[in-house]
């Protein structure tokens, strides 16, 4: 009956149990380490990159240099170092991934809890809207959105966030329904707890771990989505991100130039970070998922 709550408090509430549980997942730990490094690089490295090195009007190196001593990942079409571009791009990719995931999970949680808790007409309408977004191919919708709205980072975040929330909403709703069916919620209601009390004190805390896991996994897909949109040329053209790098490499003819060093590093960076988020997400999932 209260088993779930106890486990929740013992694992996440007190902290040490959850951390211990997570540490038991080696892959998850590895992912977390990779993420920590990536985040550190994204935050600190730009401070050390001289402004001129990435300024197309100031660089003086020859374009399309193969990896070598001077530039150990070669140079791009404008003569900028690919290695520095990858480092600089980490910030944008992570930022868009995180904010878009927060937005998407936020919307999803809100819709899920509201529809699960209130039921009736509101739930019907919300669920139909959810279904609508679930059925539409997210990429097409995101492309349409980012075409209509002015170009920029905000648009990309919005486009990803607005298209990827339905699965979270469905999951949170299911979880809300199970929680609300439990006797302790019924007791709270009987003792006079209003909607706010039930949602805030009982449903939300029980749903939160799931939301957390979902958010971690959503970051991974948001990074891929950002790269996809940027690759299709829908991103902010003057901002460096990994997807934008692949886009520019393709646009400026890295393929006919056989400039693999321009295409591969941003691609691998995306793979590594997405993998790390997925590993962490899966490990968290294993820790917090209530086992019956």
């Amino acid at each position: 009956m209260t088993g779930f709550r106890t486990r929740w408090f013992s694992r996440v509430g007190r902290g040490d149990g959850a951390v211990g549980g997570f540490l038991a997942h080696r892959a998850g730990v590895a992912g977390a380490v990779v993420l920590a490094v990536a985040a550190l690089v994204a935050v600190i490295a730009p401070l050390f990159i001289p402004a001129d090195a990435l300024d197309v009007t100031r660089v003086s190196d020859a374009p399309w240099q193969a990896p070598g001593l001077g530039h150990w990942l070669g140079t791009d079409h404008a003569g900028r170092s690919v290695a520095l571009l990858v480092v600089q791009g980490a910030g944008t990719s992570l930022f868009v991934g995180l904010t878009a995931a927060v937005l998407s999970v936020g919307i999803g949680t809100l819709v899920g809890i509201v529809s699960g808790h209130f039921g009736g007409l509101a739930a019907g309408v919300l669920l139909r809207v959810t279904d609508f977004f679930l059925v539409l191919p997210a990429l097409v919708l995101a492309i349409a959105l980012s075409t209509v709205l002015p170009r920029g980072l905000g648009t990309i975040v919005l486009a990803i966030g607005l298209t990827s929330w339905p699965s979270t909403a469905r999951m949170v709703r299911a979880q809300t329904l199970t929680i609300e069916a439990r006797p302790f919620v019924e007791r709270a209601r009987a003792l006079g707890g209003g909607h706010g009390h039930v949602i805030g004190r009982h449903v939300l805390p029980s749903v939160l771990p799931l939301v957390l896991v979902n958010a971690t996994l959503a970051v991974a897909s948001a990074i891929v989505a950002e790269s996809t949109l940027a690759f299709l040329g829908l991103g902010d053209p003057t901002r460096i991100s990994w997807g934008a790098m692949v886009h520019q490499a393709q646009l400026h003819g890295a393929v006919p130039q056989r400039a693999w060093w321009y295409l591969l590093p941003p691609g691998l960076a995306i793979v590594v970070v997405v993998l790390a988020f997925t590993l962490v997400g899966r490990a968290l999932e294993a820790v917090v998922t209530p086992k019956r």
Partner: protein
């Protein structure tokens, strides 16, 4: 077992497919085909409606004009008419269409066809869609007999020998009831040009056959195919593999990737295009109503000059165009060197951010505490390499003078919408110019601005300047070429000084062809000229196939025999294999 035999089959089929064209070539006399890669869509095959470069290019192959531009030096030469005579007052022009020229269906081409075409444009507004500007000044057109056309104009017109209007066959077009709805795809399409349109599948291919009745003589090969590609990367790859014979409009990086490739010859030509940066000078309609939402600061010519001064054109040419361009100046590209204008030392705006900063301070736009003066939007086309890269340069250059740029790269249609609605501050644009500079100059007259409803007119930069307009009217009726050149240059100087747009660069036309299939193409002009996108059809018409005999029969035989033997062997093996398998299966049961 099943896997193995199907694998064998697969190998046999692939070999069969690769050998198939060779076998087909054996049966009929092989048509020699020139395959051209094309990426731009066709808006219409109807010559009265077609405005896309791709469509007018096909139009030039299908229909001759009254006059043509010579391949070697672009001077006016014989088209359908071989003689022309203006009256003393320059208001009446008499053109002679000689006997003996035939439409592709064998009917004679006469002066009646010419008069019919021009009169159709004079009477039907829809027929003026694409080339209306040439006939607005016409008073009347009449064919006095089968050889003579008389054109009367309201005012003297210098472009009478540069009427880029496809002449259509009267016996086909007089049956057309609505020009607007006529697609002109009744194959084969009767025409007067060196090629006849025979097949068109939108977005896939366009096929033309050599016109055997062509009055200059039929082309030296049989068919001309335009094959569609999604992007120029794919087209370049296809050229490298030999799937197409001719590619143009390559990006510098693509062009360089073909260096030293066997069987491929590259052609770096002086293009007739220029790329420009529009600066919204406070857009107004023809009647002076402001439209759009350009930044009001740009109305100040000092601000526009400062912006132009802060752009390092040399750097753009060397880094963005990789040197495959010439630094921009006047509106007419240097390929037309007679009309081309370069600023003198006193007029020249040298790249100088410090002077630009000082000028902006003086103009009353001091830097705010955060170091900026005012922000501007820059609109360009997404997916065009130049815009994507140059916008980065401009963003940096403008931030040097305290103008943060908000770069927005949009689709083709959105870019069109934004520039016609004047909802831009800065925007990338570009034009192809003709032999006669009239058209490109006319784009900047006050009359070309849109009407009150925002429609009509094809202004380029919303420029409206009294001095410029006066000069424009002058040059239009100046028949002394030396004097006209002088006026045209003055106009360009005025444009440069008032900067409603900065001409950034004259891009080289980068082309490449399979020299193992086609030995030679006619370029226009002869020195450093283009093969595609000419003022004419010489590039396609003059193409000469490379040593046909050596290529078609001799060298392919061994391959064919070898392929046949291999296939036969594989078939035998797989049949035996299947039999044995059946046999063993039977025995087992």
């Amino acid at each position: 077992m099943r896997v193995k035999s199907s694998a064998l089959l697969a190998i046999a089929t692939t070999l069969g497919v690769s050998a198939a064209p060779a076998t087909a070539q054996e049966q009929a006399p092989t048509p020699v085909i020139l395959k051209v890669a094309i990426t731009q869509q066709i808006d219409s095959m109807n010559p009265f409606l077609a405005v896309f470069q791709s469509s007018t290019e096909i139009g030039r192959l299908m229909y001759d004009y009254l006059t043509a531009y010579a391949a070697d030096d672009q001077r006016v030469t014989e088209g359908l008419a071989n003689r022309w005579e203006p009256s003393a007052d320059k208001l009446t022009w008499t053109f002679t269409v000689p006997e003996g020229k035939k439409w592709s269906d064998g009917q004679p081409i006469t002066a009646q066809d010419v008069a019919f075409t021009y009169n159709l444009m004079l009477t039907d507004e829809v027929a003026r869609t694409a080339n209306g500007s040439f006939v607005t000044n016409f008073a009347s057109v009449a064919a006095t007999d089968d050889k003579t056309v008389v054109v009367k104009t309201k005012a003297p017109q210098v472009t009478m020998l540069a009427l880029d209007i496809p002449i259509v066959p009267k016996h086909v077009w007089e049956k057309v009831t609505s020009v607007k709805d006529y697609t002109n795809e009744q194959m084969p399409v009767v025409g007067s040009g060196p090629f006849v349109l025979t097949e068109h599948v939108a977005g896939q291919f366009i096929k033309l056959k050599a016109n055997k009745n062509y009055w200059r003589g039929a082309a030296k090969y049989d068919e001309l195919h335009f094959v569609y590609f999604q992007n120029s990367d794919a087209a370049v790859q296809a050229l490298a593999k030999g799937e197409v014979d001719l590619v143009n409009r390559m990006a510098p990086a693509q062009y360089e990737s073909l260096e030293g490739k066997a069987g491929v010859t590259r052609n770096k030509a002086q293009g007739r295009r220029f790329t420009e940066l529009l600066i919204n000078p406070g857009a107004q309609t023809r009647t002076g109503e402001p439209i759009g939402d350009g930044n009001p600061a740009l109305k100040d010519v000092r601000v526009r000059r400062a912006i132009a001064q802060a752009i390092d054109l040399d750097a753009l040419v060397s880094r963005v165009n990789l040197g495959y361009a010439e630094k921009g100046a006047g509106l007419v590209p240097p390929v037309f060197d007679k009309w081309h204008w370069q600023p003198g030392t006193s007029e020249q705006r040298e790249f100088d951010p410090a002077a630009a900063n000082a000028a902006l301070d003086a103009a009353g736009f001091p830097r705010r505490p955060d170091g900026t003066r005012f922000g501007l939007r820059l609109i360009g086309r997404a997916g065009r390499a130049y815009d994507e890269q140059a916008s980065e340069y401009l963003k940096r250059s403008m931030s040097e003078i305290g103008i943060p740029l908000d770069v927005r790269l949009v689709t083709d249609n959105q870019l069109n919408e934004v520039t016609t609605a004047a909802t831009y501050d800065l925007a990338f644009s570009g034009w192809a110019t003709n032999v006669d500079p009239d058209f490109i100059l006319s784009l900047h007259t006050c009359a070309q601005r849109p009407g009150a409803d925002g429609k009509g007119g094809t202004t380029d930069a919303y420029f409206c300047d009294e001095t410029y307009d006066k000069l424009y009217a002058q040059q239009l009726s100046e028949f002394d070429e030396g004097k006209r050149v002088e006026i045209v240059k003055q106009m360009q100087a005025r444009f440069y000084d008032q900067v409603p747009a900065v001409v950034l660069a004259y891009e080289n036309a980068l082309e490449a062809y399979r020299s193992d299939h086609f030995a030679r193409f006619t370029t226009q002009p002869a020195e450093g000229g283009v093969i595609m996108a000419q003022n004419g059809m010489w590039g396609y018409y003059g193409a000469e196939p490379a040593g046909r005999a050596a290529q078609s029969s001799g060298s392919r035989w061994p391959g064919l025999v070898l392929g046949g033997v291999v296939i036969a062997g594989l078939v035998v093996v797989s049949v035996l294999y299947a039999r044995r398998r059946n046999a063993t299966a039977g025995e087992r049961e």
